[in-house]
């Protein structure tokens, strides 16, 4: 559990469009790394490339290396399905499976991987829902559809679903942008707890959120429309928000950009 990620000279493309240019960064285990930057700078694209979700989009491809504890996930012998089993993901909009109950949503990953034992699945469901701080709210209605929960609960359900398969890394793509402040707070608290067991990378548009939840922050920027996004600076969150080395970073976090 909880492995480190090393990205080496990663270039990402959508068809002929060069979306991200030469990103290299390191994410230590049991650590929260936040990706910030303006829209279109490629931070979500980089995040999606960390568990090979990038290539799901037709025409998208990646060049370079992403090492998980030294093992290249882009090696030609690696099955992308096994990469995604090891590196989980939570999306911007909560997306529980509409045909499944709350319990079945949580254990969907295990069930679809062939786990049959109802007892084991029940245990995993409870553990994951407790881990996502949702157990108390849903324990009496585990067989109700997941779509009946509130937006914030649905997002925690999706987090429970992601941690139920016991990944080494958890990627979060703006997990709070569709939620109200109270649900956002619940998710942020949860991130702090999950940090004990998982390596977490989170993309956020909310700089206060980045400052609150992350240990280190990566700032991405792009030179102009149609230009590839680049990693400008990666440092401890405290340094980034108090004393960044790059002027672009300072301009962005202090609201002087564009």
């Amino acid at each position: 559990m909880a492995k480190r990620i090393d990205v080496k000279d990663l270039n990402l493309f959508y068809g002929k469009f060069h979306a991200v240019d030469g990103v290299s960064l390191a994410v230590p285990p049991r650590n929260v790394t936040a990706f910030i930057g303006p829209s279109g700078c490629g931070k979500s694209t980089v995040l999606r490339s960390l568990n090979r979700m990038h290539e799901v989009i037709p025409g998208a491809r990646a060049e370079g290396k992403v090492l998980l504890d030294g093992e290249d996930i882009y090696a030609s012998t690696v099955d992308p399905v096994s990469v995604r089993r090891t590196i989980g993901m939570v999306f911007q909009r909560p997306n529980p499976f509409p045909t499944m109950s709350i319990r079945d949503n949580v254990v969907a990953g295990l069930k679809l991987a062939g786990e049959r034992s109802g007892k084991k699945l029940d245990e995993v469901a409870e553990q994951a829902l407790r881990g996502a701080n949702l157990w108390a709210e849903v324990k009496d209605r585990l067989n109700r559809p997941g779509g009946g929960l509130s937006g914030g609960q649905q997002q925690r359900l999706c987090i429970a679903r992601a941690i139920a398969v016991q990944p080494d890394v958890l990627l979060m793509d703006e997990p709070c942008s569709a939620l109200d402040p109270i649900s956002t707070l619940a998710i942020e608290d949860l991130i702090q707890e999950l940090k004990k067991d998982y390596t977490i990378v989170i993309v956020t548009h909310n700089m206060q959120q980045a400052a609150r939840v992350s240990d280190q922050t990566a700032f991405f920027n792009l030179a102009g429309v149609g230009q590839p996004g680049r990693l400008i600076e990666l440092d401890d969150t405290e340094r980034i928000f108090s004393n960044p080395t790059q002027k672009a970073t300072e301009d962005y976090i202090s609201g002087r950009f564009g």
């Binding site: 995604r84 679809l112 398969v165």
Partner: protein, 303 residues
């Protein structure tokens, strides 16, 4: 020295105007036009339904009608029933569905999940479009030429089912394709991110999400092909006996019974034709109701 003040005078000129006469007129005209065409479109349907029910409903109230065939009855004898034709219609429709539905659903899965905008997918879509425009008589003659003339099969209910397959596939492909398209990509991505392979995502996540609509589409398509007349006229002989064997012998069906008994120009023939018409409409209605019931039972719930 009194200055007459009009107390009813508005404090300020109104900011908004009334609807002017020309707009009011146009609105009324459009309303009348829309309501009028609605009535115009509905009238023949209602008229048809009333005629069929008025002329045929009395015959289907008899229990014999649903349980007996016309075997041994001459064209001057009342009595008997259309059980033989109901069996034929259901059997032919069912065999058709068993063959057509898996093919059509898999074609739709290919088009939406794998083909996307590839050349092969475009060719398949084009073929399906053409197939959906093929008249049923052409489908029937094609099967006749292929199976009966070339392969030497006898005329049979199975040949009818094959012709119906040609008519059913494009309908089911189209509806399934549309329904798979509206399944949000986010659900596919959620499954991929859990380490679920693509085929399993399609089978366990995408298709179940679209299932309720797909079932409705399939029942509607079955109901539609059961009323087709050209294939039964060309590909199978009429009989008044009950035949359960789709591969051999003549087999009646409701449309075939109607076209055959139409030639009996007396009250008996009239009774059989109108009665069969009511029966066919009833069966198709039951199928449609069944479809919406199943789709309601399998539809996505949030509570």
């Amino acid at each position: 020295m009194s200055t007459a003040t009009d107390l009813n005078r508005p404090a300020a000129p109104p900011a908004f105007q009334e609807i002017n006469a020309s707009r009011r007129f146009k609105n009324r005209l459009a309303t009348i036009l829309v309501a009028g065409t609605f009535v115009l479109a509905l009238a023949p349907l209602v008229w048809l339904l009333i005629t069929v029910i008025a002329k045929g409903f009395q015959y289907v109230l008899n229990a014999d009608w649903w349980q007996k065939s016309l075997a041994g009855l001459t064209s001057r004898q009342f009595g008997g029933g259309v059980y033989h034709a109901i069996v034929g219609t259901l059997l032919q429709g069912l065999i058709c569905a068993v063959i057509a539905v898996p093919i059509a659903v898999m074609v739709a899965v290919y088009l939406v999940e794998y083909g996307k905008r590839s050349r092969l997918a475009k060719a398949v879509t084009f073929t399906v479009d053409i197939l959906s425009g093929v008249p049923s008589i052409v489908a029937a003659l094609f099967i006749y030429a292929l199976c009966i003339t070339t392969l030497g099969m006898p005329r049979s209910a199975f040949a009818v089912s094959l012709a119906l397959v040609l008519l059913m596939i494009p309908v089911v492909v189209r509806t399934t394709e549309e329904l798979l398209k509206i399944v949000p990509d986010e659900l596919r991505e959620a499954a991929y991110a859990l380490g679920v392979p693509k085929w399993k995502t399609i089978v366990k996540i995408v298709i179940p999400t679209a299932m309720s609509g797909i079932i409705t589409g399939i029942t509607l398509a079955i109901a539609r092909v059961m009323g087709e007349t050209a294939p039964v006229l060309v590909l199978v002989g009429y009989t008044t006996f009950i035949n359960y064997d789709p591969f051999g012998g003549s087999m009646a069906s409701l449309p075939l019974l109607m076209t055959s008994e139409r030639l009996t120009t007396n009250e008996v023939g009239e009774a059989r034709v109108w009665g069969a018409a009511v029966t066919l409409i009833l069966i198709i209605t039951v199928f449609n109701l069944l479809g919406s019931l199943i789709s309601r039972l399998t539809s996505l719930k949030t509570k």
